[in-house]
Amino acid sequence: MRKITEFRSGKLAVAVTALLALAGGFVGISAAAASQPQAQPNTAVTGETYIIGTDTTFAPFEYRKDGELTGIDMDLIRDIAKNQGFTVEIKSLGFDAALQALQSNQVDGVIAGMSITDERKLIFDFSDPYFDSGVQMAVAEDNTKITGYADLAGETVVAKRGSEGETFANSIKDEYGFTVKALADSATMYDDVKAGNSVAVFDDYPVLAYGISQNNGLKSVTEKEQGSSYGFAVNKGQNPELLAAFNTGLAELKSNGEYQAILDSYLEQPAPVAASGFFGLLSDSLPALMKGLGLTLLATALSIVIALVLGVLFGFFKVSESRVLRGIASVYVSIFRGTPLLVQAFFFYFGLPQLTGQSIDVLTAGVLTLSLNAGAYMTEIVRGGIQSVDPGQTEAGRSLGLGYVTTMRRVVLPQAVKIMTPSFINQFVMTLKDTSLLAVIGFAELTYQGQQIYAANFRTGETLLIVAALYFIVINLLTMLSNKLDKRFNK
C-alpha cells in the first residue's frame, strides 16, 4: 500500500482527486487501486527500462541545452544506468508534478535535486545522498539595501514551493520579521525578485550560483546555510532493485572519479554566456517552439473533434423529451463547467492513475481533459443553437407530416448550425489557448517549451514575447480561415 497522507503538495491533489472521483462516480474503480502489481525485490535491473521523473529546470542539476536535457542529475542517472546495465527514460515534469507522478506510479523514480527530509521519507524510499546542498539568499544585482537577514524586516521573500529553501526561510521568518511567498520554479522566483515583487530569494546554493553565472540579474549577499543532502527516490516499497542499483552505481562512480568529474564540469566552470541578440534568441528557440506548436495544434485538433461529438450528443440530450437524458447531460455539463480546467488536468493525469492503477500518457490525459471540458461548453452551444430556432419552424415541419428527425435534420439544424458557428469558432480558439495549461502536467506544448527555454537562459520577457507572438499568429490565422469557411457555407 502507498502512503500518501503526509506529503504537502500531494495532499491537495489527493483531496481533489477524491472529490472529483465522488462527483464523477468513479468510486467503484478506487477499489482496484489496492491490488497493484508489486515489483519483485532482488530482480536484476539488467536490461530493464525505468522511467525517471525530474524537474523541468533546476540548473545545474537539470536543464535544457539546445533542446536536450542535461545537468548533474541527468549525467549522474545516465552514467549510473550505463554502469549498472539498465536503461532510463527521462520525463521532465516539474518538481511537484514529478513527485505526484512517483506517488501515482507514473514514473519509477525521481531525481530532481530533491533534499532528503523526514517528511518525504514517510512516502518515498531514498538512495544514499549524492550531493550535499545548502540554502543561500540572493537579491537583485542593483540592490544595496539588503546585505543580511536583518534587512528583511517587513519585506517579502520568495522560495521554491516544497523546497529546502522554503523550509529554511520559514524557520527564520519570525526572527527577522519577513513574509515568505512560495513559487513553483527558479526562473519565476528570480523574475519575481528582479521585478521587485519580492526583495530576496532563498534557493539551493548550486542552483543560485549557476543562475548568477548565467547573468540572471541576481547576486548573493550571505554565506550558504548548512543544508541537507540530495537523494534519488522511489515510491515507498516499490522498485527496491532500482534503488540498490543506484547506490551501487553511485559508489562506483565516486571511486572511479567519474562523480567528481561530473560535479566539476557543472560547478567549477559554469558555461560561458554569450548573450545573443533578440534574433539570435529567436533562431535558437524556434526549433523547440515549433515542436511545441505542433503538439499544441495536435492536442487542439483532437480535443475539438471529440468535443464536437460530445457536444452534439449531449446537446441533443439537453433538448430531448426524456428527463433521464436531459439529466445525464446536465450532470456532465455541471461537472466540467463547474470545476477548473487545471484541476481536471491534474485529476486525469495524476488522480485517475492513483484510483485505477492504470498509468496514462500525458497526451491522452491532456486531450481527455480538454475534450471533456470543451465538450461541456459545446453542449451548451448546441442546446442554445437548437433552442434559438423559432419553435414555429418545428411546428411548420411537423404540421406538414414530417417526423421529428426529418424536421430536425432539414429544418431546425441547418438554421441552428448557422447560429452556432461563431460560438464554435470561439470555443475552438479557447481550447487552443487552454492547451497552454497542460504545461503543468509536463505536456511539451508551446508554453512548456517556452518555459524550458527561459528557465535555462533567464530571458523570460523576450522568450514569452516570442511564445505569445506564435499563439497570436496561429490563432488569428485560424480565426480568419474559420470565418471564411463560415461565410462560404452558412450563406
Binding site: D390, Q393, R398, L400
Partner: protein
C-alpha cells in the same frame, strides 16, 4: 359525412384551462370560420385538430383517425391536414421552391422532378410563379403567406386550417391572401378558418362559430350569427368589431 368530429375537448396549460369542453362536427367541403376575442381559445382549438397541442381530455376524430389513439401515425394524419400560421413559418434557409418541395420529397410522395412540377403549378395558382427561386426574406408578408399556403397544399391535404392567416399582414396585403383562401373554398376544400376578418367570414363561411373563454358561445350561418346573434356575449363582441 363528418370530416372532423370533436367531442368534449378540453385543453389545459398547467393549471390554466384554455378549452373547457368543445363539441363540433364539421362536414366535408364545409368552410367554418371561428371568431372571438383574444384568449378565447380559437387558436388552441385549431392546434388540437392536428395535435400540435396535446389533448387534455375528449376525442378528436379527423378523416376517421382518432387523434387520441396512440397507435395512430400522426405524421400520416397530418398529411391530410394543411396548416397555415399567423407568422408564415417559412423555412428561411430554403428558396420558395425548396420550401414547397420539402415535404413531398422527404415523405417520398413524389420524385424530385414531379415535386418541382407540382410546386411550380401551386406557385402559379397563388400568383407567385416568378418567385420560385426567391428566398422568403425577399418576399412581402402577403407573398410569404401565399407561399405558405402553397407549401401546405403540396402534400395534397383534404382539410385546411388557417390560424389568423392575415393578422400579421399590412392591410393592403390582406386581400391577396383572402382571395387565395376564397378560391380554395370555391373548390370545395374543407376548411377551418380562425379569423378577425368579419367581412370575410360573413362572405365565405358556411358556418360561423363564436368562442369566448374556452367555450363555444354560439354558432350558426353567417346570416344568423351576424344578423341576429342570440347571446349577449356575442352581441357585445360583434358590437365592438363590426
Amino acid at each position: 359525412m363528418s370530416k372532423i368530429s370533436v367531442t368534449g375537448l378540453r385543453k389545459s396549460f398547467g393549471s390554466n384551462e384554455v378549452l373547457k369542453g368543445l363539441d363540433v362536427e364539421i362536414l366535408e367541403g364545409e368552410v367554418v370560420c371561428v371568431i372571438g376575442p383574444s384568449g378565447s381559445g380559437k387558436s388552441t382549438f385549431l392546434r388540437c385538430l392536428n395535435k400540435l397541442d396535446e389533448l387534455s381530455a375528449g376525442t378528436v376524430i379527423v378523416d376517421g383517425f382518432n387523434l387520441g389513439d396512440k397507435t395512430v401515425d400522426l405524421n400520416e394524419v397530418r398529411q391530410h391536414i394543411g396548416m397555415v400560421f399567423q407568422h408564415f413559418n417559412l423555412f428561411p434557409h430554403m428558396t420558395v421552391l425548396q420550401n414547397i418541395m420539402l415535404a413531398p420529397v422527404e415523405l417520398k410522395k413524389e420524385s424530385t422532378a414531379d415535386a418541382r412540377t407540382t410546386a411550380l403549378k401551386l406557385l402559379d395558382r397563388v400568383g407567385l410563379a416568378d418567385k420560385a427561386t426567391a428566398r422568403p426574406a425577399q418576399l412581402s408578408g402577403g407573398q410569404k403567406q401565399r407561399v405558405a399556403i402553397a407549401r401546405s397544399l403540396a402534400v395534397n391535404p383534404d382539410i385546411m386550417l388557417f390560424d389568423e392567416a392575415t393578422s400579421a399582414l399590412d392591410p393592403e396585403m390582406v386581400g391577396e391572401v383572402l382571395q387565395v383562401i376564397r378560391d380554395l373554398a370555391a373548390e370545395g376544400m374543407t376548411m377551418v378558418v380562425v379569423t378577425h376578418e368579419m367581412g370575410f367570414a360573413r362572405e365565405v363561411a358556411d358556418r360561423v362559430i363564436f368562442m369566448a373563454d374556452g367555450v363555444i358561445v354560439e354558432e350558426g350561418t353567417p346570416a344568423e350569427l351576424f344578423g341576429n346573434p342570440q347571446q349577449a356575449r356575442t352581441q357585445d363582441f360583434l358590437s365592438k368589431v363590426l
